[in-house]
């Protein structure tokens, strides 16, 4: 048995390769974090060194020059989209997992089939449609498409989970006179908490990071979310790279923290889907 755990040359070489790859991943991120504390001179001359003096002001400047506002916008858009996605998807998932009626399969395919369609294709027509609805260039111009595009996957995720829940509690609740709405609110939803958390995390990640819709459906700077805001920041900072790096670091922190804390829930969601992004 011990043979399988002992070091030898080929294992050491493979280990070395893994470590080099890990450094290739971590170093650029660390460089981004540390450069955010340098001035341009330090960035040019001491690319590899730790900052000589830690310039916290860069982070303050990045925040004040726009990241702060974009950050708040991203929070508003992400939180609203996630809540709305969860409510709408869990209702649909409940009906599709528990009720039995004609046409159920067609509705299931219609809703989950949305997964097959890529947002690029509807970019132009959605742009026009949002204008007609009078919500172009408002928070709703992002929230509504985000919710629509998250529903297929989230419904799929929650439905599979609900199918695996035992029915006994519901049966006895029914005998006690509960309606289906009460069963949903008081029994099914509390039991589905773990999968709701997974769905929320994945939805939050995609809304926080979404770029293309945010680029096209929002015109005013005051509604822009972080990904597009960063592009503006790059334009206005031109060669103040260290402030830009500070801005980049600030904008990825929430996702990195969420990932490190909720890794298990995220992995479960990602591996049950088979969709990227």
């Amino acid at each position: 048995m011990s043979k399988a755990r002992r070091w030898n040359l080929s294992r050491a070489l493979v280990m070395l390769a893994l470590i080099i790859y890990a450094i290739l991943i971590i170093y650029p991120l660390l460089w981004m974090l540390l450069s955010g504390f340098k001035d341009n001179q330090g960035l040019f001359l001491d690319t590899w060194a730790l900052p000589k003096t830690w310039i916290w002001q860069n982070y303050v400047d990045a925040w004040n020059q726009g990241i702060g506002r974009y950050f708040v916008n991203s929070v508003i858009v992400t939180v609203s989209s996630v809540i709305l996605t969860l409510i709408v998807s869990s209702c649909a998932a409940f009906a599709l997992a528990r009720f039995e009626f004609r046409g159920q399969n067609i509705l299931l395919i219609l809703i989950i089939g949305g997964l097959m369609l890529s947002p690029q294709v509807s970019l132009v027509s959605l742009f026009k449609f949002l204008q007609k609805l009078g919500i172009y260039n408002t928070y709703l111009a992002l929230i509504i498409p985000y919710v629509a595009y998250r529903i297929p996957f989230t419904t799929f995720l929650i439905r599979s989970y609900m199918l695996s829940l035992p029915r006994e509690v519901e049966d006895s609740a029914y005998i006690d006179g509960c309606t289906s709405l009460q069963v949903f609110a008081k029994i099914i939803m509390p039991m589905s908490k773990p999968i709701l958390a997974t769905g929320a995390l994945l939805a939050a990640m995609s809304c926080w990071n979404e770029f293309m819709f945010a680029l096209v459906f929002i015109e005013s700077d005051k509604y822009k979310t972080i990904p597009v805001g960063l592009m503006n920041l790059r334009g206005s900072l031109s060669t103040d790279w260290t402030i830009l790096m500070a801005g980049l670091t600030l904008s990825v922190l929430p996702m990195i923290i969420i990932f490190l804390v909720f890794q298990k829930q995220l992995v479960r969601g990602i591996t049950s889907g088979g969709v990227k992004g």
């Binding site: 460089w31 341009n40 960035l43 294709v121 597009v228």
Partner: protein
């Protein structure tokens, strides 16, 4: 059971989701086809019927073929790196010897996938920067100064530089999907192979690869579809330049619609993206079904 017998209640529960999906996913896609038959502008109501004129123009536009080639290149390189390396790394981390380090490496390798593509794009723009960039500085430090260049500024290297950043971001993602697939392989297969004296490499070739064949196919298709949808990283790093050398279908669409204000043209490109990704998705579903039947 009576509790779930009422069809009206069921429909009420489904209605909001259905409305969202029909109005904001299906309707715009259908609408897009009609919009590609007119000449119209981003702001304003006038539109002029042009029929299939935009499709003819696209077919004659060399940029379209540059874009198609770049998307294809993107998909091809992504298969080699994400699916190829993703599988190899997953197999290594599932080896008895390396499993105790798996938690750390999995977390590190997967981490870039949770970062927004915009941030990765901007970060790599700085990494590729001719004077302050990490890459050129590294090459100088190890004495390969003649290899330094403006990675994103030269049409010969720009597309590869963009694709490389995407590999950096997503190898770990595909690796994770493989990890789960490998964990489902019955342990007895490995144990009996080991008793027959099969080494790690042989076990990989003769057990792991055949056992996760379906996942390999699925991940390849996901990666190819991703290759034809790519937009963010190209837009952020080069916006299609230098010249039009890094244009992909989605940036071609964006430039036609929102830069040149030829919305009909943009719709026509969108229709082409739809056909390509839809066909690929049908292939994915077909293979999915085959796997389920087995």
């Amino acid at each position: 059971m009576k509790l779930y017998g009422n069809k009206k209640t069921a429909l009420l529960f489904i209605a909001p989701a259905l409305l969202f999906v029909l109005l904001f996913i299906y309707y715009p896609i259908v609408q897009n086809f009609f919009m590609s038959l007119y000449r119209w502008k981003a702001f304003g109501e006038d539109r002029i019927w042009v029929g299939l004129q935009y499709y003819r123009r696209i077919a004659q536009d060399p940029v379209f073929y540059t874009a198609l080639t770049n998307n294809f290149l993107y998909a091809l390189i992504s298969i080699v790196f994400q699916v190829g390396f993703g599988l190899v790394i997953a197999a290594i981390l599932e080896e008895t010897f390396f499993r105790r380090f798996q938690g750390f490496f999995r977390t590190v390798f997967f981490m870039p996938s949770v970062i927004s593509i915009t941030v990765v794009g901007l970060l790599f723009q700085l990494i590729y920067h001719p004077s302050i960039g990490l890459l050129n500085n590294f090459l100088k430090a190890i004495g390969l100064e003649n290899l330094t260049r403006a990675w994103l500024g030269e049409s010969g290297s720009a597309m590869y530089a963009i694709i490389a950043s995407s590999q950096w971001q997503y190898i770990g993602y595909i690796m994770l999907l493989f990890l789960v697939a490998i964990q489902k392989i019955p342990k007895e297969l490995y144990e009996s192979a080991e008793m027959d004296g099969a080494g790690a490499f042989q076990r990989f070739i003769h057990i792991t690869v055949p056992q996760v064949k379906e996942t390999i196919i699925m991940n390849s298709i996901i990666t190819v579809i991703g290759g034809f949808k790519v937009f963010d990283e190209v837009y952020v790093m080069t916006a299609g330049g230098p010249g039009r050398s890094t244009e992909v279908l989605a940036t071609f669409l964006y430039r036609s619609g929102f830069r040149n204000d030829e919305m009909g043209m943009a719709s026509a490109i969108a229709s082409i993206i739809f056909v390509i990704t839809f066909v690929l998705t049908l292939v994915q579903l077909y293979i999915n079904r085959k796997i389920a039947e087995e």
